[in-house]
Symmetry: C2
């Protein structure tokens, strides 16, 4: 069924590009089809030539020790042996994302009645979302494939991450966005690149245009299109970090937001790799997926006990989760069901409440995606789907400064007073 490639096979260079250097993708062996197992050479491919299933990176795993990892840098490259990147990756300019805080959430745990709760906070990444992780891996692939242009279609976090990484790497970077995007999101990409292209259309139109360009033009690396298998591997580092920061231990339960579903499946892949490599003890863990009700095709399928994910037209404030036809939804269902977890969804009002709850309890200002995850965590407790006696991790994927409007009407000064001590006393603040 699968074609195991000789380790010394040199992948064919895409037209117009130089040959790959040795070790360009580290310990990665091939791109393997998630459906049929067929393996193809490492390169800018993303669909299986046999069955059109999604390709993902397969490895000849090396022996890795906790000590070797701990001796690495305080960013994702400490795990470079488990990523499709060369051994000298630290020498190439990149944004150096990762190794973000894992905070013990005493207050939020008390509020929700969970004994042992942690927040993995990816809002402190270079451009303030987990996208910096995946983009760093895509950038390495683009460089090794000798791409002329680094690019993406996006409405927000991904655009910021690609524009920043491209600037730092000194590679021409083109970011495509819908022309009606809010000014702050435009600025946060335009500040990094002169080549921001506004497209008169919705996100689907932008996405379609990107695929067309990827097909027509030579040497373009679209991070979430033709180098997607390399890109997606970056999310594994969230899983590695959680395990390492817990003292090389897997949590009992983990709650992860679901957009395409890629992040959830890659965190699970990371945990499985750590078990396989003997870096953590093999133990069961439950995986939970979080969606906003306005875009909850995976949660709907989970609740209907079916594998048939019906695409939806998104209508939610959680725009970074608003993928109506999630590519990895089927794998999310599989992982959540087999692990004893669940997929759950909440209303936009509950998303807003989740943002404020996390801020007030743990001092973390999350975007709507994080509000969704925290709100779903709350609902999982209330509905008895989550075991409150087990060690639980919840992932915050981005920063509230990017979705300020979602809560700006809900919070504000407790009082407005004259500048005098008497006025302060009269306001009775405490």
């Amino acid at each position: 069924m699968s074609t195991v490639l000789d380790e010394n096979t040199t992948a064919t260079a895409p037209e117009g590009r130089k040959g790959l250097r040795e070790g360009a993708f580290g310990n990665a062996r091939s791109l393997a089809c998630r459906e049929c197992g067929h393996e193809v050479e490492l390169g800018p491919s993303y669909a299986c030539p046999e069955c059109f299933g999604p390709l993902e990176v397969a490895y000849d795993y090396p022996a890795v020790t906790r000590e070797e990892i701990a001796a690495g840098p305080a960013n994702i490259w400490r795990y470079k042996a488990l990523l499709p990147v060369p051994d000298d990756i630290e020498q190439s300019p990149n944004t150096e994302p990762g190794f973000t805080r894992l905070l013990k959430a005493h207050n939020l745990g008390r509020e929700l009645g969970i004994d042992n709760l942690w927040v993995k906070d990816d809002s402190t990444n270079p451009t303030n979302s987990f996208k910096d992780r995946v983009v760093a891996c895509a950038l390495s692939a683009a460089r090794e494939l000798d791409a002329k242009v680094f690019a993406c279609p996006s409405t927000g976090n991904l655009a910021n991450a690609v524009a920043a990484a491209g600037a730092r790497a000194g590679i021409p970077t083109v970011v495509f966005i819908p022309s009606n995007l809010e000014t702050p999101k435009k600025v946060n990409s335009a500040v990094f690149t002169e080549k921001l292209v506004a497209v008169d259309g919705n996100y689907d139109d932008v996405n379609k245009l990107a695929s067309e360009i990827a097909g027509e033009e030579e040497g373009w690396a679209f991070v979430n299109v033709n180098v997607r298998p390399f890109y997606a591997e970056g999310s594994k580092t969230l899983g590695y970090e959680i395990a390492e920061q817990l003292g090389w231990r897997l949590p009992d339960q983990i709650v992860i937001p679901v957009a395409s579903g890629s992040q959830l499946t890659k965190v699970d892949k990371a945990f499985q790799e750590l078990i396989k490599l003997g870096l953590v003890e093999d133990k069961p863990y439950k995986v939970f997926g979080a969606q906003a009700t306005g875009c909850s095709p995976v949660s709907a399928a989970y609740k209907a006990e079916t594998d048939a994910i019906r695409p939806v037209k998104p209508d939610t404030i959680a725009k970074s989760l608003a993928i109506g036809n999630p590519a990895d939804g089927i794998y999310v269902l599989d992982i959540c069901r087999k692990s004893g977890g669940a997929v759950e969804d909440i209303s936009d009002d509950e998303v807003r409440e989740g943002i404020i709850l996390l801020a007030r309890t743990e001092g973390i200002f999350t975007e709507t995606a994080g509000g969704t995850t925290v709100g779903v965590l709350k609902k999982l407790v209330e509905t008895g789907q989550l075991d409150t006696s087990l060690e639980t991790v919840v992932i915050n994927t981005g920063h509230g400064l990017k979705t300020l409007d979602s809560v700006s009407d809900r919070v504000g000064p407790a009082a407005t007073i004259a500048p005098s001590y008497d006025a302060f006393v009269a306001a009775n603040i405490l």
Copy 2:
């Protein structure tokens, strides 16, 4: 001249508070007057009772090794032996700031003609500015002094940091802001605390009110007023990190923004401590201060070759640097002059250019303060004040998402196109 306290002396607890526990302030010995050297017991004091000079924390320095530091957490507490915090500081909920990226700035260096340039990027701290460092130290002091309320007057970064840290610590937190503050800055504090107080007046009015409350009320810890000596020590960690991340070496030159001047003096203090402790080689280094021309009292005094700093009424977009009467200005002058550095200032237009320059070259979106520092770096090169052959570090203190308006008119889409490949080709983006 100075009263050396017995190490076993227990500091008098402020009225209404419990006695201090042993080791409450780690290896800190006393508060020593920067002017006359007089030492007072550790507590919520900030002015010398003898001469009204500023008090700063003095230590009985322990032996510390590079290995002990490297074995610590990836945040400021790896340096806890050199901070006024207890040995078990990691056990108390705090935002865990620090150990931010030190990026080799190849592109910016090439652009400016500097051979060996680094950017220390503090925009990736928990609330996206260096203030998280100082607030974490102030929070520890507030806790050890058994403060009832954690508070500050502020217009921006400090408010965010105090509100977030207070929420996480679970201590009642009151933040005072001018009532005419922009909505984003309000939201970014209000999301963390219900006790945001808007004051009808300018920042000076708010500040005066805070001092009045600190004098009248018992048990309030105003981070930048009555626990300021502890607070200010947090900035030393910027200096420690730079040296450690360079491989335990001091840079030849460093460029630091100047508001009150505290950060610059504390980075210098950190370098001197590292030399004294044998953690780095003793070598000369030049310190440069950066101001915006619209609030440049220290730069003006430097250029006039005088020690007399004339207070100014700030008029600049670099609001986080807009302190017209900088408390540590005189020490900034002293350090910059003695080290062979300088203090320089630039126009608001140059501040905006600095923001875009850093974003386009290194993928870092800085606020106006960072734009000031990068712009001053450029001017120092152009005026021959900085030696371009020497290893140089420039500090970025905060995030561009907080001062978005400063550049939103200057950057934008290169083109707006129809959603078709033909339209893309016609736009000739590359």
